[in-house]
Symmetry: C3
Subunit: 268 residues, 3 copies
Amino acid sequence: MNHHTIDNAFHDLDLIRQQNPVVHNLTNLVVMQTTANLLLSIGASPIMAHAREELADIVAIANALVINIGTLDNTWVQAIECAQREAMHRHLPIILDPVGAGASGYRTAITQEILHRGVHILRGNPSEIMALTSEVKPKGVDSRNQSDEAIDAAKILSDNYKCTVVISGKTDVVISNHKTLFIPYGTSLFTKLTGMGCSATALIGAFAAVNQDYFHAATHAMTLFTLAGQLAARKSQGPASFYSELVDGLFQFKKEHVDDITLENVSD
Amino acid sequence: MNHHTIDNAFHDLDLIRQQNPVVHNLTNLVVMQTTANLLLSIGASPIMAHAREELADIVAIANALVINIGTLDNTWVQAIECAQREAMHRHLPIILDPVGAGASGYRTAITQEILHRGVHILRGNPSEIMALTSEVKPKGVDSRNQSDEAIDAAKILSDNYKCTVVISGKTDVVISNHKTLFIPYGTSLFTKLTGMGCSATALIGAFAAVNQDYFHAATHAMTLFTLAGQLAARKSQGPASFYSELVDGLFQFKKEHVDDITLENVSD
Amino acid sequence: MNHHTIDNAFHDLDLIRQQNPVVHNLTNLVVMQTTANLLLSIGASPIMAHAREELADIVAIANALVINIGTLDNTWVQAIECAQREAMHRHLPIILDPVGAGASGYRTAITQEILHRGVHILRGNPSEIMALTSEVKPKGVDSRNQSDEAIDAAKILSDNYKCTVVISGKTDVVISNHKTLFIPYGTSLFTKLTGMGCSATALIGAFAAVNQDYFHAATHAMTLFTLAGQLAARKSQGPASFYSELVDGLFQFKKEHVDDITLENVSD
């Protein structure tokens, strides 16, 4: 991670603020409001719509499609398939958040169906990423840490599905075509309120709408989201004030704010 | 807009605080929580319920019905029709928010069906209002601005459907029976977070529950909502603190607070 | 209420923070985000999932099941029954929030079905509790207050369904096996925003996951939630800042904070 990446990330943010890309979300019932507000805070235009009768019309005005399976059921699975096919037809970037993959066989299976149809960027936490391939075997607590195993899994998924994979955590990892980039700005407050991973995925959608290099789009989104999180955490007394500071911070985020952070010495 | 209107608006707000009217919302999945909290902040009692089995019972204890098509699908369309018929039978005020009308043929068609059955107040942004009638033709960028065309469309809708129409924007416009009133207090932060238009519609429902003159009810709701927004914007660093200041401000809103605003010189 | 109870409540909170129990919520569309955030603020792990295809898997990793009927419909009623049967099979604590019982015949009937199948803790406001039994007859405004009648109803429900019953209000009442305990820390701001009762029920789920004495689990959850509410109310200007202070306060809540409250002289 270096200043060049941060400069490019802010360049993409400027494009989002100028172009207001429409991000169509098929997302879960818990985080809809949070996701919409975080997209608005960076200048994107969120749409939430799931009726079969209108998916073709909505995808036609969208610049990216974000799929999130957090509270899936049969109705939503059908809507996801329909929207995904429309988005593929129109060459929109498709971003997938496999919330809870591994927690149920249903989630894992549906996620794999979506990946098989075609996804450009996949973002999840280590356990979700690892649940999506059986080719990485845990080797016992002593041999390697979970993070290394998740990276192995992400490389396999990136190869198999020809997509960029983001693993979220204290350090985010972006993986594509044998490139691996580490973004070390995560803060633990992101795990103390709901919808932060889902919102990261939605923001990747906005960046992918303005930057067709999806490895860069994912890198830029995660870099700015986590840097804004670092800044918000310093002003926060807990998860609720963190959310408020994060949204307000992204709304007025400028490169000068980042210079105040000791990028080399990130603490939790 | 004058002090007389503001006095009358606060009179209605006092009635809401005393009577706690029940506002039944068939609204979208993104804004349910925000809408409920804003209704509570002014003293109204929100109910969200959509099961066919209970709509007659719920409408029977409601004082207004607010319909919002933001995340409509076939199940909700049926619930809306059922609740609307019950509300008409009981002579409740019915308020409609045509979220995204024009963005899909489905939304536009469903909105027109709801209008045909009978609505007392319609509130939308200029593009939504213009999407609901084909009688206003855009005349090119030089001839007239979108706002004028939206007012023409609103007048036609008001005539055709015998309803009050509110167009939201930097200046809100209330139209009914050839009366047109401008409310110049909008602030751009309202567009930077989700659910603000939807909440304005819900608040109109609360005002219509205590004031049977729907032109006045809509005027009073929009006046107090946007004045509270002006006050909140001054204390805000961004959309999240704006929301917090708006809810807290409405909760304790008194006419004295408005005296602090330069009503003549509203800035964005 | 005494310091011994408060000590024990903080002991349970420590267990939640150490064990991060998984609380599976079948709850309403309005409060999902708020409920998830309040569970996270005390250290629990919320899951929202309702698809029939995965309920067995999700309940298998859960430590408590919270059922809330706030926006029920036929799909959710079926999911509730399925999850409840799985939870009974696995001997999980089952906690029920009968939102709006009495407001429609449908709600009352569904709530009674859920109670008949088996619930360990029931939490509602006085009117909801009274709607669930016809054995308590209101005796006129002069004879007794609603609170006494609600306690009578709660005792009958506790006997009939072998469950602990919590009545929420300015003073919360916990009733089980002829034991009755009063918790006098309620603050009126809890009624000025949505999801506070629902979140109290969800928190009871987290406490029941670490304390198998459900009378104590309910008592400890309500004690800490309302004490945190007292502290939050002092720092709040209205419902939105109250929510923020409540979440942040619970996140860092320690027994020392309670010593600052005049426990004997609680004011609204």
